[in-house]
Amino acid sequence: MLVEIGHFALVLALLVALVQGTIPLVGASVRSRALMDLAQPAALLQFALVALAFAVFMHAHIISDFSVRNVFENSHTAKPLLYKVTGVWGSHEGSMMLWVFMLTLFGGLVAGFGRALPASLRARTLAIQGLLGFGTLLFMIATSNPFDRLFPTPADGRDLNPLLQDPGLAFHPPFLYFGYVGFSITYSFAIAALIGGRVGAQWARWVRPWALSAWCGLTIGIALGSWWAYYVLGWGGWWYWDPVENASFMPWLLGTALLHSAAVVEKRETLQRWTVLLAILTFGMSLIGTFLVRSGVLTSVHSFAVDPARGVFILALIALVVGGGLLLYAFRAPGLETGNPFAPISREGVLVFNNLLLCAGMATVFLGTFYPLFAEVWSGVKLSVGPQFFDATFVPILMPGIIAMVIGPVLAWRRGNLAAALRRLSPALVGAFLAPVVVFLLNHAAPPAALAGVALAVWATLGVLTDLADRSGLARLPLRATWRRLRHLPRGTWGYALAHFGVGVLIAGIVVSTAWRSERIESMHAGDTLAIAGRTLRFVGVTEGDVANYHVERAQILVERPGGAAMTLYPERRWYPVARSQTTNTAITTNGFGDLYLALGDPDGQGGWVLRAYYNPLVPWIWFGAVLAALGGILSLSDRRLRMRLPAARASAAGAIRAGDS
């Protein structure tokens, strides 16, 4: 009965979405306040209905109601409760549920907190959000109904894919989807602005918090996913340029560009068209990321969307959302830009430059991901595009961006002075030249690429610190005054500093862990030892046992280091009998500056076991950096200037008119 209520709520949400997607649009064009104001209650109602359906679906998973097909296929009575909850989004239907939940959540948030928005902009934004909800709900109900029943009811389920039964992966999807779907609201704002014909500083101020929240979610989601890959896949890598990874990285790159160009629109009333285009494309990439990869076009062996109806529906949805958005853009954008002029050397100039690099980088990732598909279609030849391609193209494209990222914030708007900026950054400049020299003196075998990477990391981190010192008047003013200035810097400035510093930390992690990683792979018998990175690993033996829903083989390894306390690590292999699959559970110990990473391999047939030991220096910094960047985003979000408030009548009027509907 409860399940039918959930199903019914979903269908009702579809109808509400249809109302939300049409009537307020009509209302905005005939300027009927009553019709426009239908948007908020509709958005809230749609959210409430979807939330109800989501809760019912989760309930079915928690109580293991195997009469629901999805629960039967993805759960088991012996599965730990945590994974019964998080297993909700472990399947195709469940992740669609999470997707549409996020979509309506964002609609509901705009309806709830967007009181200060002009009525027509709010009505149109919510209407577009309603149409997106309509498309997704229709897709769910027509092709991926989470509430499908099964009769007769099976006694037990098939269990969730064991790889999903992991804390890192349990919380990865909600963050990732928060990011993906968060960009739906910037899309809706962009389309609403195109229909209305006005994109000014005020619009950018309204859009920025949403873009920023989505970006933070996506950053954390990607970091969690990569961390999961690192500790689960058992070879110590954390990024493989896999289509799945690229799918989340492409909207991140565009979202980063969007964030910065929206700032330019807000501060300087320029780049309006470009920002609107980015908003459309970012959400387009989110859609392509989630759906196209999932539709199985990219990989022939795909278990989810084997149903062609799903693939066709998804393609139509993407074509409609992206194609429709771009078409509208083509018609309306020429009337938008007011374009306050700026010199190439200016803060705007650097932001545009980095926008270009981020977009070119995104296009490169897109090309690399989809090229095998294109090539096969037009030539019939199957080819591979592996990490080597991305390392050779994407990395050099983004490198100048890192250099510029430090200079931009030090330059003035409109017209900057590069020489003065570099003078202000001289401590960072000196550091960036000295650091690789020091590294080279310590290690003559250091590869040139690693030296360049070290220079970049030092430049990025020291650059931010130098800028902060400069802004606070350090060394020019008494310490007390510096401290006061530092405390009174706007949160947005702190946010920028933290995020950019995080990027520096991330680069340091990537460069050092790639260049100076050690690896030992050996067959070990009880009592054997292995030396790695100044540590001695003593192989004690392997024990077996049964835990919850799996069988485990656990190696005991004593780690000794001179002058340090000995510790024991337990890398495992698990066998999940119901799901009939095996997983590796690596054992990792970290001191913040490096990870000792152990993975248990196969028995060698002579009483020994293959042990893979890695020492990955600075690898934790990759995730520290990503978390710092996301925290920077959250800090900016708390800046007073970004809170929604009544639009101040500003000088933006002239721009608005030039862009006004004709």
Partner: protein, 156 residues
Amino acid sequence: MISLRLLFAVVLLVVTMGPSVHAVEPSERLADAALEARARGLSKELRCLVCQNQSIDESNADLAHDLRLLLRERLVAGDTDRQVLDYIAARYGVFVLLDPPFAPLTWVLWLTPPVLVLGGGGLLLLRARRRRLEPPVPELSREERARAALLLGDQQ
């Protein structure tokens, strides 16, 4: 997206039907450290054909094992890195090469990124130059002024 990422891992498990930890086995290693280092480098450039997007360096599939032995045989026989890759590509198709060679089929792939950056950069520079020559923003016309009044009135 988890499900996707997972999927790859899962498909890998299903396809290989083997135990889960991947990669080079101690028994495969060559005695000559320099040759072995080259072998490891090469095995990162070769795709495991029965796996989902993995190099033979990381895969534990039988085919990956065979390819790892094959490339070591070629290295011991004195092949250069290029010759080893060509030898394997000739037998297993270009699909096996993770680093796509620069050939007519991949011209677009390799040339698009630099063209995008240079073309985009050139376009921006041209635009910046043209803009500087443009006259300042013209005054509002009478109609625009009227519309401004209307819009500002609307806003208050």
